[in-house]
């Protein structure tokens, strides 16, 4: 018997002539948190909707808790919590009535008070849903997703639209659920969110998974970043090539910044070697290395290099 709660093997999905998902594979073990990252149109939501049982897989195989999420939806439904990308809540109901409705539909729900406290809406129970802010509606939606004590939780951009101060509370709730054994699949635009929460991530682009693994695994092999602010009157064309590459130039506050990605050589020595080359060049040309920075690649660097097709 498989220990994977979610298994996706060769999933393809098409809307007319447009192939939204082009043969992706990934698995999520029980109690794991897997994040799907990507720009709009990358295929994240389509993948989620297949796993949530909203549509059948056009080709490939998808298993959720060992069952087909579309064909076996009836059996899976009580075991799964879903938070969609956009909330569709009944505006005339109060927050409490909305939670009560979901509780009445669930087999073994948590209490209304507990559900509202989890998302910090305890003081909004008598407020009509239409009067909640966008972020509060997202939090209510999250409460509905967890009210039935799901074994698997699908969160499609859960913190989009939330106030920045509400995000840490939501992250804490998700971490607590995972610690309690819930398996979570989430999509997000926020790389910080994925870095904080996910055991493993996958970056999707144009319907394909371009890279997957733990965050350290994903950023490994993407080199180091060197940058400094180029002083005025220093010709750009005299800047050195590092690791065989010319610098990328960006301009901020009227001054150019030169950036290099160094990937050659062994991972332990390449930044040292490039920094030494840069220092030698600067000393030889009497150039001040203003705001010199050296750092390993971040998830954002990897993400941008993928979505910009570099």
């Amino acid at each position: 018997m498989s220990t994977q709660t979610i298994e996706v093997d060769g999933l393809r999905q098409r809307y007319g002539d447009f192939e939204a998902v082009r043969g992706i594979d990934f698995t999520v073990p029980s109690g794991g948190l897997f994040a799907l990252l990507g720009t709009n149109g990358a295929g994240k939501t389509t993948t989620m909707e297949v796993l949530e049982g909203f549509r059948p897989a056009a080709s490939g195989s998808v298993r959720l808790l060992g069952a087909d999420p579309y064909r076996d939806r009836k059996a899976l439904r009580p075991r799964v919590g879903i938070m969609l990308q956009e909330s569709g809540l009944i505006g005339d109901l109060t927050t409490a009535e909305t939670v009560d409705l979901w509780r009445d539909l669930s087999t073994d729900p948590i209490s209304r008070a507990e559900a509202l406290e989890l998302v910090d809406l305890g003081d909004k129970s008598a407020v009509q849903v239409r009067q909640l802010s966008g972020g509060q509606k997202r939090r209510l939606d999250l409460a509905l997703a967890v009210v039935g004590r799901p074994e698997v939780l699908f969160l499609d951009e859960p913190t989009t639209g939330m106030d920045p101060e509400a995000r840490p509370g939501t992250w804490k709730l998700i971490q607590d659920l995972v610690a309690g054994g819930t398996t979570v699949l989430l999509t997000t635009h926020y790389l910080e969110e994925a870095e904080r929460l996910a055991d493993r991530i996958a970056i999707m682009h144009r319907g394909e998974i371009r890279i997957t693994g733990s965050v350290p695994d994903v950023v490994a092999g993407h080199g180091d970043r060197l940058a400094f602010r180029v002083p005025a009157h220093t010709p750009i064309d005299m800047l050195p090539h590092l690791d065989g590459r010319a610098p990328e130039i960006t301009v901020a506050e009227g001054l150019p910044t030169a950036r290099w990605t160094v990937t050659g050589g062994d991972p332990d020595g390449r930044a040292h070697r490039s920094v030494a080359e840069l220092l030698t060049w600067a000393a030889g040309h009497n150039v001040t290395l203003d705001r010199l920075s050296v750092r390993p690649a971040s998830l954002e660097d990897v993400f941008l290099s993928i979505v910009e097709d570099k």
């Binding site: 949530e52 009836k74 439904r77 969609l84 009944i90 005339d92 979901w102 539909l105 509905l144 039935g148």
Partner: protein, 245 residues
Amino acid sequence: MKTDLSHAYRLARLDLAMIFRNRSALTNAVLMPLAVCAFLVYTAKDSGPDQVAYILTGQIAALVVFAPLVNLAGFYTSRREELVLKRLLGGPASATAILGGSALGATAVYLLQVVAVVAAAVALGAGLPGNPLLVLAVVLGGAAVFALLSMAISGLSSSGELAQLATVPVMLILFALSPVIVPAGALPERLEQVAGYLPLTPVVDMVRAGYGDALSWQSPLVLAVWAVAAAVLARRFFRWDPRRG
């Protein structure tokens, strides 16, 4: 584990609460159809008790066009466009329970209106139906057919208002040709034949059979064929995702 029936019952309760909480929904879904009925009875009053009874029994059937068709088509559509249906589908309830729950709510409104008209019929001397079970069965069967048709119309409409607008010609044709107000014999022969196959006609005929008229074998057959056709149309055209964007 909760069943589809318990989910549908809970969702029907929700819809009824929404209707009775919202004054305009209460007026449109419950009071307006009864006002139309009262007006028709009033105009028939001078033509004698038989005509009053004819109108009243016709209205028991005709009211099926309001809550289970006009209101429900608008309701499904606006909830779909507001993503409420999809949100519900992402919860513990099945598609059957979600759609059935709203249909059950609309049927409850229709039943309430039927009870009001039956009470009016008693008060105006038309009496109680001789076969109340037949009346109840045809009221429920008619509600099911029209609820399924409302799903098909909803799937073709991009807003609740447009869905309700789309039901208006359907309603006018049904009221003009089915023997709700005008007896079938008053229509030209060709139109009378067409009217016999409309979904409201068997509902009207069987309600009147419940009040003592002869029951034609054709009526349950036509209603059953409509039930199958409406189910096929609902399956073909109903959609969960919004039409916008």
